[in-house]
Symmetry: C2
Subunit: 370 residues, 2 copies
Amino acid sequence: MNTQHPAERILMGPGPSPVPARVLRALGAPTLGHLDPQYVAIMDEVCEMLREVFQTKNALTFPVSGTGMAGMECIATNLLEPGDEAIVCINGVFGGRMKDVMERCGATVYAVEAEWGEVIQLDQIAAALELHPKAKLVGIVHAETSTGAHQPLDGFADLVHSKGALLVVDAVTSLGGHELRVDEWGIDAIYSGTQKCLSCPPGLAPVSFGDRALAIMDSRKTKPQSWYLDVSMLRKYYTSGGGGRVYHHTAPINMTYALREALAIVLEEGLENRIERHEKMHLRLRAGLESMGLSYIPKRSLHSLNCIRIPDGADDAGTRKRLLEEYGIEIGAGLGVMAGKAWRIGLMGHGSSIRNVDLVLAALKHVLGP
Amino acid sequence: MNTQHPAERILMGPGPSPVPARVLRALGAPTLGHLDPQYVAIMDEVCEMLREVFQTKNALTFPVSGTGMAGMECIATNLLEPGDEAIVCINGVFGGRMKDVMERCGATVYAVEAEWGEVIQLDQIAAALELHPKAKLVGIVHAETSTGAHQPLDGFADLVHSKGALLVVDAVTSLGGHELRVDEWGIDAIYSGTQKCLSCPPGLAPVSFGDRALAIMDSRKTKPQSWYLDVSMLRKYYTSGGGGRVYHHTAPINMTYALREALAIVLEEGLENRIERHEKMHLRLRAGLESMGLSYIPKRSLHSLNCIRIPDGADDAGTRKRLLEEYGIEIGAGLGVMAGKAWRIGLMGHGSSIRNVDLVLAALKHVLGP
């Protein structure tokens, strides 16, 4: 197989999403040193833009040097200590992963579960907090990439805070494509990825920590088990003033350029407009799919990811292969218990466009059809 | 400050090193999905090229999705369990970090120390192994980036293996620039970074695990504390056959293109030629610096990094600032106990060239000069 020249795919799976030419070009800018004053200025700009996109004033907002799961692990390793208790909501693969990650931090993790495709109800959390009053945090996935379910978060922070716990949110597939108001919604710690609705290549994980999370980190009795993700050191690099930067590790310089450009595109479009576009394109795709007799798995679907049932008699892998080979379109297979039962069609960031919607509908009609 | 257009620096610090135009261009190739057959083929090619550069047949050789320190942490978290004992050699910042990282894995770590700038002697390790017969591994830094010391490794594996321990090597600043024979030298686990002698931007950490390390991982009683770096899962993605790939996390796709191109350049030049070039350029720089009255801190200097004493009366920060502003040359400050006492001049990968050597000598003469 030709490995020299990556093909020009139309990425309509669960991520990565299509990367605009501007962002690809930004990647190739000359590499600066990680302590170069210009690079520090670029990083500051990225952190400021991330605050806008997260809709937060949190000083401690920065991109972790790894992909989305490194963001999840960063939050877990910094907020939890051995012997802690936590509650994690599980209605798909990523809630399950969050439990696993937090247990590896030495915490006892209680699961609040819903069927895959369903969302978690506020009273389930209330009951769990009643049962486990020592829980230090409640972790929940805003956009469950394995099922396409869109988790409402209204009232969650008030409830969780009333019990003295933190609200931790996975926003990997929602940041930049769905309404998400970190400060207004009272989210204490949140992580995302660059390769979904921000339409940047994978390689960085934006995170943000609020004051309650900072207080928890400042009162730790033990070091976080990860040195690489230790926020007590990272914050000396990411949030101190120009002169006071303390070297921790060498950040992925060129990826930072790409993220800067991707965030600039988000802010040029305007967050509201972008969120509205994601909704419109989702509705257009949904109408088209339903008119073909296809149906959605989650009741409350994400706009950024459309998880549909594979129709009876259709060949799962064969259909995806034809889309890839004939159209250069990537859609996603089902993950976990959804394997063989679902397709996942992403409309994320740059990829959430009328041309992609109409094309994937035409392609599906052709490949599935009559 | 202009953040749109990163300046064209000549990177002669402790890394990142100058990135060839070919590699910067490769970064900007279209983003593929991480399960796309073409991407899987590219990743396989990268792993095969890494085996050549590491001079190993180890099947489990791949780039960790993080910068160099993530490589260190990957090895620590997979080889060590709470209650284990380990020996770590410390003669600079990075040995100290290795101890910290391993302690966070729950291990008791015994230090074998040498003065900064000196190297570790074989009989020190022998004595430590005598004293701590349960040590599961001995960790040592091949190229100590904080002091420029070049650690010989002859006989180390035989000694360590005779006591039933593993030899773990930090090769962040040596891979692709110094002689380094993983199989012949009996190294059991090794990590590096992309942004040093491979001249790729930072963002990936090549690692390799031999059979002894695999056996240790296969017999673990507990899960590695890091999910993100758990090799038992990563190997299902990186080393299974084409059809059997199991999704773990979304790898940094575009960084993988860059690493592929950077490794292609290494192999086109030939590893032997490249290592010889690094030696020649080091000797040329050394002769020039010494003729100016400057002196090296380590007795056995790396070829890739030249750590010199700041001459009496010279202005540390002011000199580096003038080099950066007038020449666009980045050299490194001293790190740790060397702060204010040392400059670090990198001649790594693409940056190890006669034009860079002669230019930095001319620039230093001008800036320091009479």
